[in-house]
């Protein structure tokens, strides 16, 4: 990634998400196991204690004979204390309720732990019922056992006397608490320990992903020989292998394309170069032909002038081809110098004798820019020449600078003609090589490479060139070149 682009900070990266998912699974499984274990153990523990207590209490109550109707007083309390003493697994406090009479084996005749709910159930169920009650943080088991008469094998008659046993379940609570602690202490370190394999798993998944990202970036920056080391034989290794295959294919095709391109460039360059030498000989003698043509008969004279003119055109074409192949081979250099731009344009125009009223200028003085004077001359001369040839006089050359909010100010050169303008369907192609705006016109006066060369020259200055039409009529070419006047070199 380019250093300038700030990396977006994501709250939940892939690694975090993987880790969280892993921890969640670990937490759910550890928590469920712990909870289930705790619940089962706890209920087993409590159930045993409570069953023992209930059975024991029932036995005690049945073995004890009560004389009915029950007489309150010392006897009853003594009886209750006997039952209480034989409590299992812990001693309990026994309460007796009979009508309005209340008695107990403890200090208070009435217990504060027994709920009205239990009292109601005690009357409904002759086999007794029990309830677990927590009061002031202390768990109690309360058992209600109504005294009944057996009137027949399957018929019982309540006597009205109900005995209650209240037993503190402190030991059981301690055990249950210990159980809870054990479950928690088992689950928490488990979670902490799960973090390590989680991290490792995330790492092992993320490493290939990170390598892939690095490799993709490296490929993007042009290093097509980038490959990823393939480890193991899982899906990630498959991914790496696929990436490597794709990269190999890409590298191969790019290499083929580059070779083809280089061959084409070399061919163009060689052709131009080979054409040059015979042309040099021909061009040196064309004046001889032109001068002597007057003395020849009409047909021969025409033929001689034709050869002379075509030789000149061929020389221009070859020159332009050489220039284009230099651009293609990136062999074209910018020999920049700080120049007075208005002065440079004036010289270009005067050197080509475009000083009459066919060319109008709006050239403010004092604009200095770093340009390659030779290339800038070619750009201006080409555009003005085209405007005169294809557009129509008068041609206006306008120069100005414009400040750009981001970046350096630019130098803008506008060349507008007074012709019919460029047809919209032609506009995108005007800078194409050998593009003919008019299909019927097989050959233009120039080489057909003029605007392509102009564009390359502008690009070499880090500039841009646009073609368009004026609102009225006439084409306008706009050249924008960054104005680097301050860093002038010598």
């Amino acid at each position: 990634m380019s250093p300038g682009r700030p990396r977006r900070v994501r709250a939940f990266g892939l690694r975090t998400r993987l880790l969280l998912a892993f921890l969640l699974v670990a937490a759910v499984s550890a928590g469920t196991t712990a909870a289930l274990t705790y619940r089962e153990a706890r209920s087993a523990l409590l159930q045993t204690a409570q069953d023992t207590a209930v059975t024991s209490f029932r036995d005690q109550v049945q073995q004890t004979g009560f004389a009915l109707p029950v007489q309150g007083g010392e006897d009853l309390e003594q009886l209750l204390r006997d039952i209480a003493r034989r409590g299992k697994p812990h001693p309990w406090v026994v309460f007796a309720e009979y009508g309005s009479m209340r008695a107990s084996s403890g200090e208070n005749p009435v217990s504060t732990v027994i709920t009205p709910e239990l009292r109601r159930r005690a009357l409904a169920n002759p086999h007794g019922s029990f309830e677990r009650v927590v009061k002031d943080g202390v768990p109690y088991l309360t058992i209600a056992m109504p005294m009944v008469f057996k009137t027949s094998p399957d018929s019982l008659l309540p006597s009205g006397l109900v005995l209650y046993a209240v037993m503190r379940m402190t030991d059981e609570q301690v055990n249950v608490d210990a159980l809870l602690m054990a479950a928690r202490d088992g689950a928490l370190p488990g979670l902490a320990v799960a973090l390590i394999p989680g991290l490792m798993a995330a790492r092992s998944v993320l490493r290939p992903v990170r390598e892939l990202r690095r490799a993709a970036r490296s490929m993007g920056s042009g290093r097509l020989d980038t490959r990823i080391p393939v480890r193991g034989s899982d899906e990630l290794a498959d991914l790496a292998r696929t990436f490597n295959e794709a990269a190999g294919e890409l590298e191969r095709s790019v290499k083929e394309l580059r070779e083809a391109e280089a061959r084409a460039r070399r061919f163009a360059s060689d052709v131009s170069h080979e054409l040059r030498t015979p042309l040099a000989g021909m061009l040196a003698v064309t004046e001889v032909l032109d001068e002597d043509a007057d003395a020849l008969d009409a047909d021969t004279a025409r033929a001689v002038r034709l050869v002379s003119a075509e030789t000149g055109k061929l020389a221009v074409l070859v020159e332009d081809l050489m220039e284009i192949s230099r651009f293609d081979a990136r062999a074209a250099e910018l020999n920049a110098d700080e120049v007075d731009v208005a002065e440079a344009i004036r010289k270009t125009l005067s050197n080509r004798h475009w000083t009459d009223d066919r060319v109008r200028t709006e050239l403010p003085d004092g604009i200095r820019a770093r340009l390659d004077p030779r290339r800038f001359d070619i750009v201006v001369a080409n555009l003005v020449g085209n405007a005169l040839r294809h557009g129509g006089a008068p041609v206006t050359v306008r120069l100005r600078t414009e400040a750009r909010s981001p970046g350096t100010p630019v130098l803008i050169t506008e060349i507008a003609d007074s012709g019919p303008g460029i047809r919209p369907e032609v506009l995108p192609h005007v800078f194409d090589r050998f593009f003919k705006a008019d299909a019927a016109r097989t050959r233009s006066a120039g080489s057909g490479l003029g605007l392509a060369i102009t564009q390359e020259n502008v690009r070499l200055h880090d500039g841009t060139i646009r073609a368009g039409n004026l609102p009225g009529a006439g084409a306008v070419f706009t050249v924008e070149i960054p104005l680097h006047a301050e860093g002038a070199g010598g």
């Binding site: 030498t277 040099a280 020389a315 020999n335 270009t348 800038f376 001359d377 010598g490």
Partner: protein, 227 residues
């Protein structure tokens, strides 16, 4: 009319240029190789050498260096490549100008005349011999000596020095120097000026890296002095 020696290996170019220049009244001798050219140089005694850069055997750059060692004969390079590399090599070897092939005879002749033309702007009231520091410039005899010792300057170097020293401390842009010294009427190669300045400095300066006579003004051009 000037006597021109043409060293060119390609027969059609050799004959074409020879024919064209002869028609314009030049006395032309042509040689096909560098070795033959050096032999012809001694007996033909030309006013100017037109030299192809790419020759079989001894190449143009080597011929140019050899000629420069012995004389200040004006040399114009004929090059099939306008590529930057060749042009700079040729100029550094001591050529006064270069022509990219193919070229019309009128272009070749104009360059020949420009190189051969003397700078006759002695000006009224100007002394024939000017002394700038250790340099003595004879504007009439067209010789330059440093501390009494005559310097062998190629025509373009001499013209450049005469032009710069005629207006001491005035800054000339490369473009102005190209127009005045080389008479190139279009935007030609500014490296022609740079290469010539480098060669001139090598001959007249005590320390070419920190020049005293021909100074550079970054972004503007060159000037003579101030001493």
């Amino acid at each position: 009319m000037p006597r021109v020696l043409l060293i060119e290996d390609d027969p059609s170019v050799r004959e074409g240029v020879e024919l064209g220049l002869r028609r314009r009244g030049h006395e032309v001798r042509a040689a096909a190789t560098g070795e033959a050219g050096l032999v012809a140089l001694a007996e033909f005694r030309p006013d100017l050498l037109l030299l192809d850069l790419m020759l079989p055997g001894m190449n143009g750059v080597q011929v140019c260096r050899q000629v420069r060692e012995r004389s200040q004969l004006p040399i114009i390079m004929l090059t099939a490549r306008g590529d930057d590399f060749d042009v700079v090599i040729g100029l550094e070897a001591g050529a006064d100008d270069y022509i990219v092939k193919p070229a019309r005879t009128e272009v070749i002749e104009a360059r020949i005349r420009a190189v051969l033309r003397r700078l006759d702007d002695v000006g009224p009231g100007r002394q024939a011999i000017e002394v700038h520091g250790e340099l003595a410039v004879d504007r009439v005899g067209l010789t330059v000596s440093k501390a009494g010792r005559p310097l062998a300057l190629a025509p373009s170097e001499l013209k450049l020095l005469l032009h710069l020293s005629a207006a001491p401390e005035q800054v000339f842009s490369r473009q102005q120097l190209l127009e005045h010294v080389w008479e190139h009427s279009y935007h030609a190669d500014a490296r022609l000026v740079d290469a010539c300045v480098a060669r001139l400095r090598g001959k007249i300066e005590d320390e070419p890296r920190s020049p005293r006579y021909v100074q550079t003004l970054r972004g503007f051009g060159y000037r003579f002095g101030p001493l």
